[in-house]
């Protein structure tokens, strides 16, 4: 399967790379990191232009981010029209909107590259919580610039060992993303227990 993508990249060039990075921002399971590494190596060997590779991967990723944001925004508009005001779902949405408004820009930036497995979901949530589009776009532009430069650069450096770089980097960002989710859920749990404690809940008090 990966072979097919790599062949398509070598034969089709930059448009294939652009298409794949765009899909990867929409949670489609395509080997976008490996293709950026390969494209970097192909640029270093003179088969593709380096500037075109970077521009193509970047444009695809930015387009994918905007599409994901729009899907989240339209989806939640449909859903919230049916939510009863004051219901659990409506309250959860308000809480999420507040959280994202405060930390959204950084979340978008980091989930482009350091926590890249979370990227597509952050796009949907950012759109769904109506995060300011300018802030989203700023995080997307800066984060994708880091992602693209990092992987294309590593590909140009490592050449025949892109398999190794792809497997190691995907495991490392996977680990970091899982740790981030675990940390987030941990904070949520701690806050919930503190609240219950303050309210005098018997269960939450017992050891």
């Amino acid at each position: 399967m990966t072979e097919t993508f790599l062949s398509a990249l070598t034969v089709g060039g930059v448009p294939v790379l652009m298409f794949v990075t765009c899909l990867s921002c929409l949670a489609v399971p395509v080997p976008s990191s490996l293709l950026m590494l390969a494209a970097g190596a192909l640029a270093a060997s003179g088969d593709l232009g380096l500037a075109e590779v970077i521009a193509g991967a970047f444009a695809g990723a930015i387009l994918g981010d905007q599409l994901g944001y729009q899907i989240g925004r339209s989806g939640i508009a449909l859903a919230s029209a049916r939510m009863r005001p004051g219901s659990r779902a409506a309250l959860a949405l308000v809480r999420a909107e507040t959280l994202l408004a405060a930390r959204g820009g950084m979340a978008v930036f980091l989930s482009r590259w350091l926590l890249s497995p979370l990227g597509p979901y952050v796009n949907l949530v950012a759109g769904g919580t109506r995060l300011d589009r300018r802030l989203f776009t700023l995080g997307s532009l800066t984060g994708e610039a880091v992602w693209v430069t990092l992987y294309v650069g590593l590909g140009a450096l490592f050449g025949s060992q892109i398999d190794m770089v792809a497997q190691l980097s995907s495991s490392i960002v996977g680990l970091l993303a899982a740790l981030a989710v675990m940390g987030g859920a941990g904070l949520w749990i701690r806050r919930a227990l503190r609240r219950a404690h303050a309210a005098g809940d018997r269960d939450a008090l017992s050891r």
Binding site: L6, L168, A192, R207
Partner: protein
């Protein structure tokens, strides 16, 4: 402890499930990092054979050998036109791609600088 878990399970099941699932994934990815690091730390695993999707230029770049040499091994007098994969070159000549890869592997094992 159990009281806390019971409270969370009743009032915040999503937070508890998310935490549990993420913890499992942390272990899985930590193992993955360890396994890959161990595998790739063996130098023999790092220099594998060229693959059908690679171009002659890519092979030359990746294995740090001169391009004209790779072209010569593949039977070109001059540099090939355009961007062709080994697979396409083999198809054009009507030979199996494994023949080209075999010739390249033999050449590379002699010529490529050992790391």
């Amino acid at each position: 402890m159990f009281g806390k878990l019971r409270h969370l399970w009743h009032h915040h099941p999503v937070a508890l499930l998310l935490f549990g699932a993420a913890s499992v994934l942390v272990v899985v990815f930590a193992l993955r990092v360890a396994v890959f690091a161990l595998y790739w730390s063996d130098p023999d695993h790092r220099h594998h054979a060229p693959e059908p999707w690679m171009t002659p230029g890519f092979v030359a770049h990746a294995w740090h050998v001169p391009k004209p040499e790779v072209f010569r091994v593949l039977g070109y007098d001059d540099r090939p036109r355009g961007r062709q994969t080994l697979e396409q070159i083999a198809a054009e000549r009507g030979v199996p791609v494994s023949d080209l890869i075999g010739a390249l592997t033999t050449y590379l094992s002699d010529a490529a600088p050992r790391k």
